[in-house]
Assembly symmetry: C2
């Protein structure tokens, strides 16, 4: 519970209607989309503008009260669950698109804008915002930036980091800084913009962002390629790249995933295939046609037993929507869904999928795998039950082995979900102790009181997952 003096100060800054500390509110902000992590904050605070954020941060810094900045809570790394009480900062008032600058191809936004609204606003003027995390319908851009969210278009277009040109940041001491600008080039000092992208809210609060837009691709085509075995699908991915084609989307789904997605979406997905590639290309029509013809040929050369090109925009949208529903579909099957994102160099996908299968077999677990084959970003997803402590112990062991395997193949413990509390105990596998030490020293330098999202990413101590029932 907040000390009454602190609560009084916060009320004076944001108004009584923007501080909540009743039990229902605290419970609502006690968890995010990550299974098995939950802890109560002391209050929810909803500032209305940057000045109010700065005021709140100053009070918290003075009283050493933790701040957890939170968007829609769609993250899968327990990045927005409280760990030591404090306040959860939400951006329901700071949710405006402030400007679309068609001459400089930028959009300036507040952190609470939904990702999908950014894309739609860009499309309305013939422009495009490529990053499309799976949760983009409800995720907020502030969260996307803090997690450096990826998505289905990462191979060709990159990730959130590649579309943020500048930030307004409230530092942990309450001072406000501006980084970057409407600038394609800017090397004035350390790259604070990119340091804050993916910092998971541990270095300050992002209160504004200048996003880069690009011309909208003229057209798009979508196809499914079906395989009897996984290696053939992986070889196709390699063959496409070897032919110097970079598709907009190159998704992989294993049979188990296709089956549950079909049960959920009922659009006639090929449940008989052992592996499916969902491939999209966008761009000028001549190029899309040429690329898709070549890709179809490469799929067949690499033992696809069927290739289905979507005939209409609706059919194409149905296919990508089905892929996007994978997590929702999977999470219907068992009480607890643990979705990971071990990532490897593209060339190692077949080995990684095979290793996941063997690890699942070893621990007798139900793990489906789908993900972004084009950029090696896989989502092994375990269907389990958090109440079954014996099984959960096996799940922990299995994922640790999966992370070890990913790093051994030149990969990483997380491609797009972030570290948060979830993968804190595994960060050393990728970053090494000296790397973590460098990160800790930066954290300590910027946030000496440790108020910003404590217990995430680089805290010294290991994790003990809190066993709570899957929401």
């Amino acid at each position: 519970m907040l000390h009454s003096e602190v609560k009084g100060k916060l009320l004076a800054i944001v108004g009584a209607e923007n501080v909540e500390d009743n039990n229902a509110s605290l419970l609502a902000y006690s968890y995010d989309s990550t299974a098995r992590f939950q802890a109560l904050p002391d209050a929810m605070v909803a500032p209305r503008n940057t000045e109010e954020v700065a005021g709140v941060v100053k009070v918290c810094n003075e009283h050493k009260i933790p701040i957890v900045p939170r968007g829609s809570g769609t993250n899968l790394c327990a990045g927005t669950t409280p760990t030591k009480g404090g306040i959860v900062l939400i951006f329901k008032h700071m949710n405006h698109i402030l400007e679309i600058d068609q001459e400089n191809l930028t959009m300036t936004v507040e952190p609470g804008v939904y990702t999908k609204d950014i894309l739609n606003a860009a499309i309305d003027v013939g422009l495009f915002y490529p990053p499309d995390p799976g949760s983009m319908h409800i995720s907020q851009i502030g969260g996307n930036i803090s997690e450096n969210s990826g998505g289905l278009r990462g191979l060709k277009y990159g990730v959130t980091r590649d579309y943020v040109l500048g930030l307004e940041i409230v530092l942990p001491n309450g001072e406000v800084i501006q980084t970057g600008g409407k600038l394609a080039k800017d090397v004035a000092g350390y790259d604070l913009t990119r340091l804050y992208i993916g910092a998971e809210g541990t270095l300050g609060v992002i209160t504004k962002a200048i996003l880069k837009l690009i011309p909208q691709p003229e057209t798009k085509k979508t196809m499914l390629a079906l395989y009897e075995d996984l290696e053939a699908a992986a070889e196709t991915v390699s063959a496409i790249i070897a032919n110097r084609i970079i598709p907009a989307t190159l998704e992989f789904l294993d049979q188990a995933t296709v089956q549950v997605v079909e049960d959920f979406a009922e659009i006639g997905l090929p449940v008989e295939a052992k592996a499916v590639l969902l491939i999209e290309q966008d761009g000028p029509p001549e190029v899309v046609d040429r690329d898709m013809d070549k890709i179809e040929e490469l799929c067949k050369d690499n033992r696809a037993f069927d290739v289905q090109v979507a005939k209409t925009v609706e059919e194409a949208e149905q296919l990508t929507a089905a892929r996007r529903s994978a997590l929702s579909a999977l999470s219907r099957l068992k009480p607890t869904t643990i979705l990971e994102d071990a990532t490897v160099p593209r060339s190692e996908i077949a080995k990684m999928v095979k290793a996941i299968g063997e690890i699942a077999e070893k621990y007798q677990l139900n793990i489906c795998t789908f993900g972004h084959a084009g950029d090696g970003n896989l989502h092994p997803t375990c269907l389990t039950d958090a109440r079954d402590e014996a099984e959960i112990e096996l799940v922990e062991k299995a994922f640790e082995e999966i992370f070890q395997q990913a790093v051994a193949l030149g990969g990483t413990i997380t491609g797009e979900h972030g570290v948060g509390m979830m993968k804190l105990p595994y960060l050393h596998l990728k970053a090494g102790e000296h790397g973590i030490e460098a990160m800790r020293s930066i954290k300590q330098a910027i946030d000496p009181n440790g108020i910003m999202n404590p217990g995430k990413m680089i805290e010294p101590k290991g994790r003990q997952r809190m066993v709570v029932e899957h929401q």
Copy 2:
């Protein structure tokens, strides 16, 4: 002069042939390509591998000896001139392309590889490394990364930062870390890769880099558009972008620059034009043809009095080579050439060029302007004489006003050259005192003894340019 104990330790690590401290050597490493900055180091050290770099850094950290990592010294911000003696670290032995991975589209390099060799090695296998700083024929990739170098393709393809996937870094304490990898997505911890890109050697020594390659564009076309006035050229730039075309290159040259480049290159450049745009598009032939036709139309619509499309590859190469020679051509005219890179949002180019003209007029200085119009990155270049102290004082005042104007227009004090010693006194204009304070705290955290390239970018004290004759 190095203490004999220190020198002995360094000799033991790298061998006697890789430590030089005779006067001729010290003089050779006392300056870079920046006019009017010069100071002697105590020694030049050339390590042969990462272990030797780590050993050297440990010795220097123990004895608090400054280290200035240096590529070819082509930078224009006095980023590699010594300030407090110490050693200049050069990479003549660490100059190998270690691997080209065609499946993952990466190239792994040591810091001493020439940028041009990277591009050529990529082209040899049908791939492409887009960043092309003006000095790419002789610049080294380590320097490019440390300065986050830009170039002529920034608008469409981005800058060095966008093509570095991972680094090997020797920290100031001598420990070696690996960041990133052959990975399109990686969010395991703070983005140390991007923090080190553009850090100007102030946070450690880069000893290896994994670069991202892309498929080589199938074809390229080049044209010149000639204008009676500057505004028309600037309006053309806006019109091209408004038509959702992103050219590979969109360069601006004022009449004075065209004149000196023609005097130098003698290829028949249009010296009668008040402003010239050099425009290139690359990609699939259909798209290049369509874009170039449209661009030609837009140039004419916006009052270009002539548009010249290069008829052959040789003619096109001659044009871009002429543009690349601008600095060399300009520096023949007067003893001292001071080339700056104030950068503004693309929409503000006309205002900025006009302001530069007015400031030159006010101080009665000879300032030519050319640069990357597509990304707002201009290079106002003052032809002067460092021995003329009265004029140099005016030059200082003029550039300060130019930087203020750039920032007032939403721009930055440096788009691609870096801060170094040269722009240290102006960094606050862009980053603000609180921004600089955040940067200083990071520097202090990572390099508590202040050994890495001291006196650059964010040192507390203002600069006094050292008056030395232009080399």
